[in-house]
């Protein structure tokens, strides 16, 4: 058996009295597309927020490619190749596409102590390329993200993660509030990840979406994993019955 790209061991998390994760152990193999499902408040976001560095577990361990990983900030997670796409939080609407693609990781012409002059040409060229690579076609990298549709925004977020060579992409309800057509587009992006060898964890309340693009299903309820099976060996009915 190969080393899992991500492994959690007995993760516990409390939010002042709420026991949100009650010992979550999970293995994600390289190249898999894992669908994470569960009712509201099951602890899905809590789990992935720990992996993406927004929160830290109260006990338990996270291992990345077999090595213990102490993920304390989003930067730490990104350095380990973990990129996260949220329902809303990943873009600044009033900034341009190229600026959004490089937020926090801007290419600089020169710098002192980490502060320096932006290489705007490079930002523009590379964002155009990154967006084209996920088969998204936008007029200009200088358009404001706020002018894009919800599906296009998620496309740009995925393009950004791909550009920075993410190994694991976590998508927390990326299709919420999107139209049917836009949702199909995002599902298409997720399917494209597997083709490019990127491991993904996809969270959604819609079983059809999860079964459409994932090869493994993990179900959570009340802070625990209650099902973990290859998608081919389970069904929407079995999973729904557990939640």
């Amino acid at each position: 058996m190969t080393t899992p790209i991500i492994e959690t061991r007995e993760l516990h998390k409390w939010y002042s009295g709420v026991h949100a994760l009650k010992g979550v152990s999970l293995k994600v193999e390289s190249g898999e597309a894992v669908g994470l499902v569960g009712d509201n408040g099951a602890g899905k976001s809590t789990l992935i927020n720990i992996l993406s560095g927004l929160h830290h577990q109260d006990s338990g361990d996270v291992l990345v490619e077999g090595r213990p990983a102490d993920i304390r900030s989003p930067k730490d997670a990104m350095r380990l190749g973990i990129e996260t796409i949220y329902q809303y939080n990943s873009m600044v609407p009033l900034m341009t596409i190229s600026r959004n693609v490089f937020i926090g990781r801007e290419p600089l012409k020169w710098s002192i102590w980490g502060i320096g002059i932006l290489d705007e040409r490079k930002m523009r060229e590379e964002s155009v390329k990154a967006i084209a690579d996920v088969d998204l076609h936008l007029r200009s990298p200088d358009a404001l993200v706020g002018e894009l549709s919800g599906g296009q925004r998620q496309g740009v977020a995925i393009a950004r993660a791909m550009h920075f060579k993410s190994k694991v992409m976590i998508l927390d309800e990326p299709t919420n509030h999107l139209s049917v057509k836009e949702t199909a587009k995002v599902i298409g992006f997720v399917k494209g990840l597997k083709a490019q060898g990127v491991t993904s964890i996809f969270i959604s309340h819609n079983m059809h979406h999860v079964f459409a693009c994932c090869n493994r299903i993990v179900a959570m309820a009340l802070g625990k994993v209650v099902l973990d099976k290859p998608a081919a060996e389970t069904s929407i009915e079995e999973v729904s019955a557990l939640l």
Binding site: M78, M91, P93, L94, R99, L108, I115, G116, I117, L118
Partner: protein, 328 residues
Amino acid sequence: MRRLVKLAMQKPELASAMLLLLLVVLFQFRSDGVFLSVNNVRGFLGLLPETALVAVGVTLLMISGEFDLSVGSVFALMPMTMAVLVVAGWPFWVAVMLGLMLCALIGFLNGWLTIRFDIPSFITTLGMLFMARSLTVVISGGFPPRIKPGEVPSWIFVGFVDEGGLIRASVLWFIGIAIGMSLLLSRTNFGNWVRATGGFLPAAAAMGIPTGKVKIACFMICSVLAGFAGMIQSLRLNSFLPSLGEGMELQAVAAAVIGGTSLYGGVGSIIGGLIGAILIRVIDNGMVMSQVDGNWFKFAIGALTIFAVVGNAWLRRRGRAMKVETDK
């Protein structure tokens, strides 16, 4: 019309710039040419860098999503600290550096308290407004310190640089700092973080931007600029008064807003804040020169501020409506 709306949306400072031009022409006409006379322009250019520097700092801070009501008090505290130190025998440059460092410390406290305890900066800096003003009075000891003209090299900051005695060094300092701040905001990664932090905090944080540090840095820049501006004014007047800069904080916010800066952060430009500050000075000075009752000044600034906010909100709504049209 659509193109006009779109342009005005992308460059909210454009409308203010046009209004500015209009007012200059109007005041020149109404004052029978006194408004643009050498004497009046000299006075105008003396005061402008001082208020505009404060506006520049406040604009930067507002773009990062925070407020600073303590700038007026810091405006007085810095020169008072410097003067007291000079009178006590400290070298001028050491006194200036210590004064500016005190400003940086106040900015740091404003930011740190706001971030650490997650309270509105409106409240933190309101507290600081009183504290810094009180400190200013206390260290002055009740008697404004006196520095003899020529005792300190104040010409570096406020000496006239041209033969005709029209432009002071402060104008050059101000232009240099304004250009520097404008480049910092628009051309550097730090500027990108400031906009992202003020534009949408959760996104900035999720992308690994140290949003707390970015805000604290903006608070510090804002305070240092306010202190520096206060020092220039004190050196120009060669008097160090504990009451300096009272009411300045709200004028600076008004300048930023008139120049198109959003109260919610993320939107605005240094040049906008600058135009706002010039507009306020032009209105103040132009009204006096055209012999309008000076008590109308605050009324005019207030009305203009409300007008600017309403206008910008309207533009943004129009802009959104337009996007729907282009989608089809």
